[in-house]
């Protein structure tokens, strides 16, 4: 205990975390101090500056290679942490740009004017007429980003639990803030909240059992204790299982996936985009940290389990996506399938080598980081395009209403095809390189059969992405698609789309630099 009191915080190494947290707190202060008319601009500027500053600090830490376990052993600033931080900050900026889009919706954002008003009540009508807005969205997103950054870097299980809650609680609230279809949105928030808290309780109980077995929450000490005391204990197995359940829930792996479609569908689309990539990124980073660092010596126990879960996840995600009639729900099942592909590489669990049959390999961590970057760009772009399809002011997300939309709006159609092809893993897009690296990692890890299954599942997945393309280009407009238009957005949504499209192409054609960065940033401290 004395060591904790004597610990000096290394402010420099924690600067990105601190900056985002302070920025979020400033946002809360702004809510109480500034006039309503200028609050929105102020919040946007504060959030933007905060994120840019945090990104600067992250890059500086990476260039100085200032790795170390900070804050009394609870935060590990290492390659994967810094890579995840950088990517999370970029995706948060893109998501906030989507969230502040007003041109698509008659000068109003996609968020409810007054969350406390009952849908359809006079109070809600008055709030809409007064053009009220919840500018709290910005600090909430920043708090969530802070939690995710801490989650990806936390080196002990209690810090990880606290971080898990820090990013989950704002997300529960954000889910319930959609302007239209508020019943669905509130229901999504309720479901996400109840299932999310259940999974964090499982995670916590697992952490307690691991602590009971090893006498420490710190991942490297857990690993050392397992190494010396042996791993054949019911207590430890139960602890590892429960911690795994909590993490796999956040990644969205079958059988802990049931929240994903409902929450993706009910949430405001900018928040869906944010959740789809940022939560997945942070959760996969934490999953790898816990299992590679903390339970590294039990590799033989969890690798086959992850392989089985990967098969299940890919199967359920790809097959159920075939039958979906709503585009947001379809993307949710596609996200589940992608969680399966990621788990393929997690099960492989190889470190970078240069002496394999494939030449220089990226290893599991590096390939997953690249995959997430490519997947994140395509996700951001696809959801940005979804916000543009409108019918009578609201988003039109049913697949039937998209009939022939690509022919009427060729630019929109071409961009959507690009993102869908990247999801499907077709060459010349970032998604292809990502899938290739992930499969190579699993192959090198001795999971050849899993790679074969994964390739087959990619074909099934490609089929439902193709279905969307067919509907957009080769289906005649019908009664569902009457009045559906692609609205012209402001520069904000355009920026997101251009960044996502250029990024997807660059990662597909010129993937060397990012892949190299992902390899160099793939060593966990203490593993």
């Amino acid at each position: 205990m004395l060591t904790l009191l004597e610990t000096n915080l290394d402010w420099g190494a924690l600067a990105p975390l601190i900056v985002v947290f302070v920025g979020a707190c400033l946002g809360v202060v702004v809510e109480g101090v500034l006039r309503r008319s200028i609050r929105d601009e102020a919040q946007l500027i504060i959030a933007g500056l905060t994120l840019v500053l945090a990104f600067g600090f992250t890059v500086q830490l990476w260039r100085g290679r200032e790795f170390g376990v900070e804050a009394g052993g609870s935060v590990s600033v290492d390659g994967p942490a810094l890579f995840t931080w950088g990517a999370l900050i970029i995706f948060t900026i893109l998501a906030l740009l989507l969230a502040s889009e007003r041109k698509l919706n008659q000068g109003q954002t996609d968020f409810v004017p007054m969350a406390a008003s009952v849908p359809g009540s006079p109070l809600e009508a008055r709030a809409t007429a007064l053009r009220l807005e919840h500018t709290e969205v910005y600090p909430l997103v920043l708090f969530a980003t802070f939690g995710m950054m801490l989650f990806a870097a936390s080196n002990d299980l209690i810090t990880m639990f606290v971080a898990l809650e820090i990013f989950s609680l704002p997300l529960y609230l954000l889910c319930g803030l959609a302007r239209r279809r508020r019943l669905l949105s509130q229901e999504a928030a309720l479901k996400y909240f109840l299932l999310g808290s259940l999974s964090s309780a499982f995670f916590l109980y697992g952490a307690a059992l691991v602590y009971g077995y090893t006498g420490s929450f710190e991942l490297n000490r857990v690993d050392a204790m397992i190494g010396s005391a042996g791993a054949s204990s019911l207590l430890l197995a139960a602890g590892m299982g429960l911690v795994g359940v909590g993490l796999l829930f956040k990644v969205g792996v079958v059988p802990f996936h049931s929240w994903t479609p409902d929450v993706y569908m009910g949430s405001p689309t900018p928040i869906t985009a944010f959740m789809a990539i940022a939560t997945k990124m942070a959760a996969v980073a934490a999953l790898m940290r816990v299992f590679y660092v903390g339970f590294g010596s039990m590799e033989w126990d969890w690798q086959p389990l992850f392989a089985v879960l990967a098969v299940l996840t890919m199967l359920v995600g790809s097959v159920i996506a075939l039958t979906q009639s709503d585009i947001k729900r379809l993307f949710a099942y596609s996200a589940i399938a992608h969680a399966g592909f990621l788990l393929v590489a997690v099960a492989g669990a190889v470190t970078p080598t240069s002496s394999s049959a494939f030449g220089a390999l990226t290893g599991s961590v590096g390939s997953i980081q690249f995959y997430l970057a490519a997947y994140g760009l395509a996700t951001m772009g696809a959801f940005a395009l979804v916000t543009m399809v409108r019918k009578a002011g609201g988003e039109s997300t049913s697949l039937a209403s998209w009939s022939g939309i690509g022919r009427r709006h060729p630019v929109f159609g071409a961009l959507m095809v690009l993102f869908l092809l990247s999801f499907a893993g077709i060459p010349l897009t970032g998604g292809f390189i990502g899938k290739l690296l992930v499969f190579l990692a699993a192959w090198a890890g001795g999971y050849g059969w899993l790679v074969l299954v994964a390739v087959l599942m990619s074909l099934v997945a490609a089929f439902f992405y193709l279905r969307v393309i067919v509907v957009m280009f080769f289906r005649e407009p019908n009664e569902h698609s009457e009045g559906v238009t692609v609205e012209k957005p402001s520069w904000m949504t355009w920026t997101v789309i251009v960044v996502a499209a250029v990024g997807t192409l660059v990662l597909g054609l010129w993937s060397g630099p990012l892949a190299e960065l992902a390899i160099r940033a793939s060593a966990f401290l203490g593993s």
Binding site: G176, L190, F193, S197, G266
Partner: protein, 99 residues
């Protein structure tokens, strides 16, 4: 006292929490069950802290209590909002999102 008794008690409390969450239909009761699970964890952590003779577990307990309080704020806000909309806090009535 044999510390195993406390561990068994905490497992029983945790199981009651899980069963309560799965079986009860009222969102508030389901939420209370989750709080019960968190408190079962606290008991386990304090117990293990005693067994190992270090304070990590007790520090963890304090963290969990703070987090649980924050979770109550957010959770009740969501449940109250949905109750005012539907005049019902049953999780079975929240069934618009499917397929």
């Amino acid at each position: 006292m044999n510390p195993n008794y406390y561990l068994v008690l905490s497992v029983i409390l945790f199981t009651i929490g899980v069963l309560g969450f799965l079986l009860r239909r009222n969102a508030i009761v389901a939420f209370m069950s989750i709080e019960l699970m968190l408190n079962a964890t606290n008991l386990a952590m304090v117990n293990f802290s005693h067994v190992h003779g270090n304070l990590d577990g007790q520090v963890g307990t304090l963290m969990v209590m703070v987090v649980a309080a924050a979770e109550v704020v957010v959770g009740l806000a969501i449940i109250v909002t949905i109750f005012r909309t539907r005049r019902s806090a049953s999780v079975d009535d929240a069934n618009l999102l499917k397929y």
